[in-house]
Symmetry: C2
């Protein structure tokens, strides 16, 4: 699985380099390239594996795979801004507003979101226009004010809320903040092939939640060098997390149960689902 | 023309209200509604008129018309941020980051950009998936790092450049900053109908430039109350504008020539083009 993940990440990087080459060498173009480098590429890999499961060619699937990475990169650049999470480091490097300035970071994020929709609707991607339009529509919904941005807004509101969030509220928040894009990624291959996305949807919902629980675990147990970003921020801010509400042992146990549910949901694909099942197990073993 | 513009604006507002109603009443949803209210709706009107010229139903055209207004609104919310143009007033009201805060304004802009792509790829919009995917693709290009965002970045860079921009450089900058979205709007009806977009493209290029020249004229001659936003900022900042480079009289003359070119370009549509020709003349007569 790690070899496949690394190979997928390399092809995604090469495709992103190619689509970004006509953007010139202004600050925004440089920032777009900078912000889309590195990372685990898990969302792109979910797209590529979902496509492979349904017989969709990798050359088609690379377009939505790069789209979701551009969208994810935009969200990180804006989340890191001083007015938002105010983070100086990301993926072991200075964040965009630290390396350039805030205006550049705002514009880089904005341009990366546009790029995501350019890539997902690109004629060399999914074969039919109907499918490309549908991928753009569902990506827009997963990203916007009823999906990722809503989750982010709830997360910010939680920081100043008089009482810590409940487990249910955090679960809802995370379903938007990280869950929506993970679900879009995992189901995209089924959508491209016109197949039933339900098994992958179930897989993705469980995986997304496990992913976030592990993020909370890393925030408590990880070290900043390995994680490539600040850790311990949530605890220092007194924010409710899965770990603060459940305790470390129970949070880890929940993540493990969710991963088993995720793996079970796609057992209908037989041996073809091995890689996605390994991805799910990797998600709760990672320390970064 | 003013009646039609007002009627079009009302239908666009009503459609936007409808699509935003399921977004709830959190800060981001409130900010999205706030930021999409008011304005002249010229871009939406170009979409509606372009559609009407090509026999595309208004119920279809309202989707891309609202998409371009959502996209335009996002760009204003982000442009007004302290790290960008740092404006407190917009359309006669406090800007989003003044009324709420910077984090909300960043998220509102982000969610409005997503909304634009949700609307443009919506199945009730253009009839074929191929067309919706194409509208999403071209909108993404017009908005992104080779279109509007590039123009905005060049504009910010110009503020700290050692020498003022040349006329050619300002023309290029404006082609991205305002021209790309105006061109997308004016050609969208032809794209929806599968007709040749060339006449409307020529119209839009001339109109977009005239539009920006008039903006520079208003910055010098207008008053803030009528304009609903700060004026005199460019002159105070010593920024090169069409007016500073050409003088007020010559700038106005150029805008008039451009409007005549715009009107001529769509004369092939005969009397059906009357309204778009009046829109062009309105653009250089407006004081806000």
């Amino acid at each position: 699985m790690h070899d496949r993940l690394a190979q997928g990440a390399a092809r995604v990087q090469s495709h992103l380099d190619q689509v970004l080459s006509p953007f010139g060498d202004g600050h925004v173009a440089l920032g777009m390239r900078y912000a889309t480098r590195g990372g685990k590429r898990i969302r792109a890999f979910l797209v590529l594996e979902s496509a492979r499961l349904h017989g969709v060619s990798e050359s088609s699937a690379l377009w939505p795979a790069c789209a979701i990475e551009a969208l994810h990169a935009y969200s990180l650049v804006h989340d890191d801004l001083p007015a938002m999470d105010n983070d100086d480091m990301r993926r072991g490097q200075p964040t965009v507003h630290v390396k350039w300035d805030e205006a550049t970071a705002i514009l880089v994020g904005d341009a990366l979101q546009s790029l995501a929709f350019e890539l997902v609707s690109h004629p060399e991607g999914a074969a039919s226009g109907e499918t490309r339009a549908n991928l753009a529509l569902t990506l827009a919904r997963a990203a916007g004010g009823q999906g990722m941005v809503l989750g982010q807004a709830l997360d910010i509101a939680a920081e100043t809320a008089p009482t810590p969030l409940t487990l249910e509220a955090i679960t809802d928040l995370q379903a938007g903040k990280t869950g929506a894009l993970i679900e879009w990624s995992a189901t995209s291959g089924a959508v491209m092939a016109g197949a039933d996305p339900t098994p992958l949807q179930t897989y993705a919902k469980a995986l997304g939640l496990a992913f976030q629980i592990q993020d909370d675990v890393i925030d408590v147990t990880g070290d900043a060098t390995a994680a490539g970003k600040a850790v311990g921020k949530d605890a220092a801010a007194g924010k409710a997390t899965f770990v603060s509400l459940l305790g470390l042992v129970e949070a880890k146990r929940r993540a493990e149960i969710l991963v088993e549910q995720a793996c079970e949901a796609i057992s209908c694909y037989g041996g073809d689902a091995d890689t996605l099942q390994q991805v799910a197990r990797f998600v709760i073993s990672r320390q970064t």
